[in-house]
Symmetry: C2
Subunit: 413 residues, 2 copies
């Protein structure tokens, strides 16, 4: 289908979606979950075609793993849709103001309308994003990567047939099947139909969207996160936190990529902590001072400070003081999640106020930056920018507001 047609259909469907009560949206989510479950074999076959094509093109096994679906991954997509039913409907909530002239002003959360999602090879995003947008009352236009096109078609077909059973118009969930560059650019420029664009993927994708989009964009996900071990840190706690932040799931955006250590604890902390990290399979890259204390590891280059490894690699730097740590983070970080380990009240305060990031931690792992962990339920991504949403973006952040003003003839003097 022509991409303008997709936009138009999505906009029309959004008018219907906007007025649906939570009951109907929840029924649709249940039907979508059931339909996905039923289509399991079809989806796995389609995914196999994608996997074979990817391997033929020489895709690395790490990337193949992100593309790959299996029973348990489909179960978790199904569970994701079901869990959305239990979350409160963000649409229609709000505040009321009564003005001295008698006007009643309601500030009410309403759906955006049409939300575009541009993403890469992970087919689970297809189902997660469709569910979240539907619950938030908006149509979704999905533009996944070419590697996942067969999987995405099978998933969207299942989701739509479920949604339609509950009375949702087809245009509410659409996939752009043309995975060429032009279709993505066209989506980025479709201001007359698309109200919001969320890119999910690596730094390259985000950059392309930011530079080309005239539709408003929320950037998500690039995470170059740091753990800073302060002079006064509990070193055992610091070791646990960096091990958790680096190794519990290295491929996600809230994993730590650089460890910063105050010089006065470097000699006591570094040998023990780095040995423990190495035992967990972490490849280390250190500054000169780190390598003096812990020889035999690779030197860290300028690129290492800026890298989001998404892998079992950690850069390590000894800093003179907390100011150098904060400066390093504000310079190289991606404004995602940053942690200090300290017993000093002033250091904690300084770090919290001066580090410019969505989530700043004292004495806890950066891995907690997540909609579920924050108690928001499902999330569409972690916003690393400052407009509209920052940090985990839940259902509420997928809505906008509208002022409804009730009068009885008021005019302005």
């Amino acid at each position: 289908m022509d991409i303008q047609e997709i936009g138009k259909k999505a906009k029309e469907a959004s008018r219907v979606l906007a007025s649906l009560f939570a009951d109907i949206k929840n029924r649709a989510l249940s039907e979508m979950a059931a339909s996905l479950m039923q289509a399991k074999e079809k989806i796995l076959l389609a995914n196999e075609r994608d996997i074979n094509a990817a391997r033929e093109k020489g895709m690395s096994e790490a990337l193949v793993d992100r593309l790959k679906l299996n029973e348990s991954r489909i179960f978790s997509m199904v569970k994701g849709l079901k869990d959305l039913c239990d979350l409160p409907d963000p649409v229609g909530q709000g505040e009321v103001i009564k003005r001295p002239n008698g006007l009643t002003i309601m500030r009410q959360h309403v759906p955006f309308g049409v939300i575009g999602i541009i993403y890469e090879a992970r087919p689970n995003v297809t189902s997660d994003a469709a569910g979240l947008c539907l619950k938030a009352g908006s149509s979704v236009i999905l533009r996944g990567g070419s590697e996942a096109i067969n999987s995405n078609k099978a998933i969207v077909s299942a989701l739509v047939s479920g949604a339609v059973k509950a009375g949702i118009p087809e245009g509410a969930i659409q996939l752009i099947e043309d995975t060429g560059h032009e279709s993505a650019i066209a989506l980025m420029k479709m201001r007359q139909y698309v109200d919001l664009l969320i890119p999910r993927g690596g730094a390259g994708l985000i950059k392309t969207v930011v530079e080309n989009s005239t539709v408003p964009v929320i950037e998500t996900g690039v995470g170059n996160c740091h753990v800073y071990v302060d002079e006064s840190a509990d070193l055992e706690m610091a070791k646990n936190i960096i091990i958790n932040a680096k190794t519990s799931r290295p491929s996600v955006c809230n994993a730590a990529e650089t460890l910063l250590v105050h010089k006065s604890v470097a000699e006591r902390f570094i040998p023990d902590a780095l040995k423990a990290l190495e035992e967990k399979g972490v490849e280390l890259r250190g500054c000169i001072k780190t390598r003096q204390i812990f020889p035999g590891i690779k030197p860290a280059s300028e690129e290492d400070w800026a890298a989001e490894y998404l892998d079992l690699i950690l850069a390590v730097k000894v800093v003179d003081d907390i100011d150098e740590a904060i400066e390093h983070i504000n310079r190289y970080g991606s404004s995602h999640s940053e942690a200090i380990v300290t017993k000093n009240y002033d250091s904690a305060n300084k770090f919290l106020s001066r580090v410019d990031a969505a989530c700043v931690y004292v004495n806890a792992s950066t891995r907690f930056t997540d909609g579920g962990e924050f108690g928001f339920g499902a999330e569409i991504g972690i916003s690393t920018q400052k407009l509209h949403a920052r940090g985990p973006m839940g259902l509420k952040e997928l809505t906008t507001v509208k002022y409804l003003i009730l009068g009885d003839g008021q005019v302005r003097l």
Copy 2:
């Protein structure tokens, strides 16, 4: 100064601003007000130079009036700064969540950092925007129109000397003195220093910014607003509302530009209401049916339905029913402020839920769309888009949020 230098200086100043308490920001606002008052003669002289140059270039007197300063306009800029002192500081407010694992999550409003304002010939924007951004804890980079450059220089020089007296760094308030096209484009691309860009001006300016900016943008201000008189309207109330919405201040964005009338009340309503509007000096342009009922007025063209006149001109159209009215508004409107006059509960409900605009009124004038009238205090503009802010943008909308997470060693399982 080089524009990159301006950006860098603004970013550095923003780090100082972010940590200032309300007391100090309020002292700075008072000093800025006093300094502006003191520089009154200088500013008026500079403004005279701008006015003379504008007239030489053949600027229309309506535009000259927007550019012109006088004592009372300077007083109102001074009062604007003083009034900001009484508004609560948006920075630092927020909510707290306690998680089952013991983490305390604070969601706190924090300054954006650096805000760019691109505007046209109105020099009062210079002072209003500088005051609002300072109170919201952000540096501001002002890029006014070339017509107002002398006035803007004089105003900024006064504001900075006041702010500096209160200990605010110079970089907090800066004017781009180069008013060429390139300087505006450079500002729109300066992502490393500028966190948010707010264009204030006509549709052409907004379009240029939206199409060129890679810095996140909030669109403001274009207002093609409608008043729809429903079948069941109190016609006396309807007449008062359209007169107020059209004539109380025709040059502002919340003034009405089109009147829509249900066909079943057209014969009773139109002659009386249009006569009253004509008596107020309004030029009318009507659809065929309107002109059958009220002959002698100009025909309305397709362009009239889309026009933001900002003048004493009103387009008038008879519609078959409320559905046609809503469709017309969603097609031609600018999503600013829309009003229905009705006694029918179902019509009111339908209009409120189906009209897609920042502010939707029942039985009240569109002229109330204003930060002051909504009780928010001063505003930087009316957002007509859906991201981050919609409707009147006050101090709170000039901040972003940050999550501060306090733990005692938590790691994620």
